[in-house]
Symmetry: C2
DNA sequence: CAAAGCGGGTCTTTTTTTGTCCCATTTTTC
DNA sequence: GAAAAATGGGACAAAAAAAGACCCGCTTTG
């Protein structure tokens, strides 16, 4: 830690600078993803007064970073290029780069990317994470491979942000698991199809009714079509998946209160494509259904891209990932900082005031 | 110019940052050189209201950079280390590093150092320049060499800031010229003696009465003592000198109005150890006296360290230095920026508003 | 064509900043 | 050792900046 870092000096001399930079960066980023966007909408989004946001807008416009029209606000060319070029700097300035390195060592994974901001407070962070994950995904693609992707908002964002540029030939995209009852936009099937379209790849889907009995599943397994697609799923070389917390599952899908309590009793803290894990990463329960088997993941998968954000997900993330050299993590700042707290033993919620978060 | 520079992005996103940093840096630097220093004295120094300075002081104290006692304010250890470590960053941030490179090429000298700030507005800049020059001087020292140094405030600052640490053996310090009537602290003789003391070197002085006639000088030249020291001066391997403007000469020494007019008519813009130069660097007049001959400077001197600051000196500096690979320049930001304006043809005073100067 | 959303203007209120003192104390100076 | 000067800190009113809360005319959108 003898590396002399200018950033610390600057913050020491002018502690208000991180706040200023982060505030304006957030605004630019939001406009970037949501333009055209009005002044009032933006103020409501960040939950600040209309007038205070207006002042920021004025300076940003004076700097030529945004343009305003009757439709709303846009980023100028200069604004777009600034957002792009200042992001790596901000990451370093806010200590996210060292955070990435720490998590890399602590979790023993292949790669960690931390996106500035907290998903829980700023929704566009989801898109940023999706973009980052999409970039990594592209790097991992090899002709002829099978790519499995799970459901959830995070993976939907990956699909959204994936550019339509050309990709290696002969790729097949499949859902990691047959239909888990979600809204259609974040169902694994929908996402797999969208990803396939972006990559100009083929895809196979696995549509299943929700909440099937074990018997029904056994019957379905004997169907040739289903057997085929299941084999395909289990031969995936890349898996992209999000992470659910137990609470989230209960809320989003129709898990009853009693079932929820049973899960908690078993120690379930996180969920990945239908499997509930306890804090040690052991499977304690599963949603009935068909899809990826964990054993095959270990044997076949070369890359597992995990996308998750929000402070609340920290425990689940720790439970799910780690100790796998195949894992690539895309986190947001909120989750990443919280993970570090957890792993370093600071279980509490404190010590957050000194950190200026995006 | 395709080098992506974070600094420009930061300034684009938050144009108030340079002001903040520079303001606080100036305060810390002044306290560093003048502590203990009271709140009112400091406010008077920077010509700002007592209350506005107080607010800066409060934040600096909250940051643990300064401590206040009944004697006045001091830098804490943290404050001192900050000033030291943030200076190179600030130079880069304010564009002084690229300024140095530009001047290096334009003036074709060996080295250029630009110190943040303007001597005309902030006197401690003189000390900073002195320190920078002193550091360079130490690098140039070789055992047994003769070091000549001129008079003036700048060279006095060099002597002040020279650390007393050990130096090569057998060095002899001499004044570049025999007594030009100045206050004793900035006379070449005094400075030479002080430098010698700091370097633990020997020294020879050349005390002469002011305003001698040519005849008297000729007589003195035949004196063995004087001849000896003159030979010593003209064998100097290093010369440290400041630069005077014509106006300054007139003010500081007793040059009459008519004489001043005559100098101006001859095109004199700068003065170095008694020689008046026009804008082309040609000698147009000289103050009667004994000392260094310019021819010997070209033949013998390996290093000529020129120390000058303040926007007003720009023209004089351009006239005096340049095209000598032996020259090492120590400037302040005010002079340096002005020199660039002059050399690039922007003769006017404009375009200063966008630049935040220390 | 109407409703919603947009930027921009403008008013008052609130907060922050600044100017201007005074005071008790310490430090310096003579 | 006394007087003078300088120190930090407190206090308060004035000024300025920021923020809140509107309205208005316009464009866009459904």
């Amino acid at each position: 830690m003898m590396v002399s870092d200018n950033h610390e000096d600057i913050v020491l001399l002018a502690p208000e600078i991180p706040e200023i930079l982060v505030r304006r960066y957030k605004i630019l980023r939001k406009i970037y993803y949501s333009s055209p966007l009005g002044r009032r909408s933006l103020a409501a989004y960040f939950q600040v007064g209309e007038r205070v946001l207006r002042r920021e807008i004025e300076t940003l416009r004076e700097q030529g970073l945004i343009s305003v029209s009757s439709k709303g606000m846009f980023l100028t060319a200069s604004g777009k290029s600034l957002v792009a070029s200042i992001t790596p700097f901000l990451k370093s300035f806010l200590g996210l780069t060292v955070l990435e390195e720490k998590l890399l060592k602590l979790l023993k994974v292949k790669r960690v990317i931390v996106v500035p901001g907290d998903l829980e407070q700023d929704e566009v962070v989801l898109l940023e994470m999706g973009r980052a994950a999409a970039r990594i995904l592209r790097e991992c693609l090899v002709p002829g491979m099978v790519l499995a992707i799970s459901g959830g908002m995070s993976c939907a964002a990956v699909a959204d942000m994936l550019p339509e540029a050309g990709a290696p030939q002969g790729i097949t995209v499949v859902p990691a698991r047959g239909g888990l009852g979600e809204v259609v936009d974040s169902q694994a099937n929908t996402i797999a199809a969208r990803v396939a379209k972006k990559l100009k790849a083929s895809y196979r889907l696995l549509h299943l009714p929700d909440s099937l009995s074990q018997e029904a599943l056994q019957v379905l397994l004997r169907e040739k079509n289903i057997k085929e697609i299941l084999d395909l799923i289990n031969s995936a070389r890349i898996l992209v998946h999000g992470i659910g917390t137990a609470e989230e599952m209960a809320r989003r899908r129709g898990v009853s209160a009693e079932e929820m309590q049973r899960l908690r009793d078993k120690g379930a803290v996180g969920e990945v494509f239908g499997l509930f894990l306890n804090s040690k990463g052991e499977i304690v329960d599963r949603i009935p259904g068909l899809g990826l088997y964990l054993e095959n993941l270990s044997r076949k998968a070369h890359h597992v891209i995990v996308v998750a954000g929000g402070r609340q997900k920290a425990d689940a993330i720790v439970a799910v990932v780690g100790n796998h050299q195949r894992d690539l993590l895309v986190l947001d700042e909120g989750a990443a900082r919280r993970i570090l707290e957890v792993l370093e033993g600071f279980g509490g919620e404190g010590n957050r005031d000194t950190i200026v978060s995006v």
